[in-house]
């Protein structure tokens, strides 16, 4: 109990004093996860909307695949990206392994199915309501796609948020492709795992606290945006 209290006290001190090592890890974590969310959003939103609107052979299989890949194990994604980026792999010449870029790639692959699957469901529900009206306007499915994404923009924040949650919390993929190298690829989750194994609970707890605070802040911001939109009848 004493250890725990002492660890909490030290962790609070590290956060308040803006310990340089701590700040570096937090900033890298944010850079990696937000970049991955941005890239996965660029791919996942149109992909999910397209699967919702178009009918094509294999569509049902693709929907099942997207839904199943929402639970893709991070270590498996990490392993695949590792094999692709390693010296012997097809993309080895780029020398990306054990860099933040490799971590962004792994997290992007991890969260594209989450954003795409949730977008597909949201847009499909909306399409049921809008299809007749938009077709009456003369809008093809291709023209309807950006319209529906815009109409669902506040609901889709939840899909993006789920992607961010997954990216910021996962440890397996970034550990494998990043290597947890100090001052290079060490992010909050990998640092927590390392510090716990070393017995330095203070830094691990401080990082854990910041991770939870970041998650709370982002969720609160999205909630406020959605609530304001709802009150203005925009969602």
């Amino acid at each position: 109990m004493l250890d725990f209290t002492s660890a909490i006290s030290k962790a609070t001190g590290l956060v308040i004093s803006l310990d340089p090592d701590l700040v570096e890890i937090v900033l890298l974590s944010l850079k990696v996860s937000l970049s991955a969310v941005f890239l996965a959003t660029l791919v996942g939103l149109p992909l999910g909307a397209a699967v919702a609107l178009y009918r094509f052979p294999g569509r049902t299989g693709l929907i099942i695949l997207l839904n199943a890949f929402m639970g893709l194990p991070p270590v498996v994604v990490g392993l695949i990206v590792y094999l692709l980026l390693s010296r012997a792999g097809p993309f080895g010449v780029f020398g990306l392994l054990f860099t933040p870029t490799a971590m962004i790639i792994a997290q992007t692959i991890l969260i594209i199915p989450i954003i795409a699957a949730l977008t597909r469901q949201t847009i499909e529900d909306l399409w049921e309501e809008y299809a007749e009206q938009l077709r009456s306007f003369g809008a093809s499915a291709t023209r309807a796609l950006p319209t529906l994404l815009w109409e669902a923009r506040f609901s889709l924040l939840t899909a993006i948020l789920a992607g961010f949650g997954r990216a910021s919390a996962e440890v397996g993929a970034v550990m494998i492709v990043g290597g947890n190298i100090d001052h290079v690829t060490r992010v909050m989750t990998t640092a927590i795992a390392l510090e716990v194994s070393k017995g330095d609970l203070a830094l691990a707890l401080a990082l854990g606290l910041i991770l939870i605070l970041l998650s709370l802040s982002i969720n609160a911001a999205v909630y406020l945006i959605r609530d304001t939109a709802h009150r203005n009848h925009l969602s």
Partner: protein, 247 residues
């Protein structure tokens, strides 16, 4: 000089069936320009389906629908439809109209005047910047009319546009429909409201159980309908027969 008309609209033995059950049966009719055509009949008569068939939202199971006018342009670009419960986009009233103009590739510089004109026609100028979904049901229906009319369609399909609104809003919507017709748009509208049909119709298509029972000038229909079913409908009788006398 006015554009060549896409009308008349001709239906040739049009049938629409779902799972083998015909919901619209062997309808043959010619609809001329200028007149206000009211499709009248009890619930389940196939009125709304007929509008959707004519507007191209659904395809007939059998028969042909032809726009027989002299225009060589795509008829789909010269018609619009207002639904009983129109979907309002999650944006302002003006932006709802702007969306349709953008779809029709109207240059941006021309859009503001057209939006203002359409909003004024519907009496919604003061609500231009209000989110469309905040508007009352009657205001939303007027906005739907303005949105449909903004591209100056030659034909406007209206599917029971006043079924979900109160009498005051109904009066305003009917006035807007009259104004749109006065601007040269052919009106094809469904209703099961006899009073509304009397107020608005130039000709009546009377439907029952998916069949067109008669096509009659409004004055004749409300004076002396040709069919026994039409006479019974005007007397306020409930029409539930499996197969009515079509003559």
């Amino acid at each position: 000089m006015s554009k060549p008309s896409i009308l008349p609209l001709e239906l040739d033995n049009v049938t629409y069936a779902v799972s083998g059950k015909p919901l619209v049966r062997d309808v043959s009719v010619s609809l001329a320009k200028d007149t206000r055509t009211i499709i009248l009949g009890p619930n389940g008569a196939g009125k709304s389906l007929l509008l959707r068939l004519c507007h191209g939202l659904i395809a007939p199971s059998a028969g042909k629908i032809r726009w027989q006018g002299k225009s060589d342009q795509n008829p789909a670009h010269h018609q619009a439809m207002v639904f009983q419960r129109p979907v309002m986009l999650r944006r302002s009233a003006a932006a709802n109209i702007a969306y349709v103009l953008a779809l029709h590739r109207i240059p941006k510089a021309e859009r503001k005047d057209l939006i203002d004109e359409a909003l004024a026609l519907a009496g919604l100028s003061d609500l231009a910047n209000r989110p469309a979904r905040v508007l009352s049901a009657g205001e939303q229906q007027k906005l739907a009319l303005a949105r449909a009319w903004v591209t100056k369609p030659q034909v406007l399909f209206l599917d029971e546009p006043t079924a979900s609104i109160d009498p005051a809003a109904t009066y305003a919507v009917e006035n807007t429909i009259e104004t749109i017709h006065a601007h040269g748009t052919k009106i094809i509208m469904t209703t099961h409201d006899l009073g509304q049909a009397r107020r608005l119709a130039d000709e009546v298509l009377f439907f029952h159980q998916g069949r067109m029972i008669e096509q009659t000038p409004a004055r004749t229909f409300f004076g002396q309908p040709k069919s026994a079913l039409g006479q019974a409908f005007l007397r306020g009788e409930l029409l539930w027969q499996e197969d009515g006398d079509a003559n």
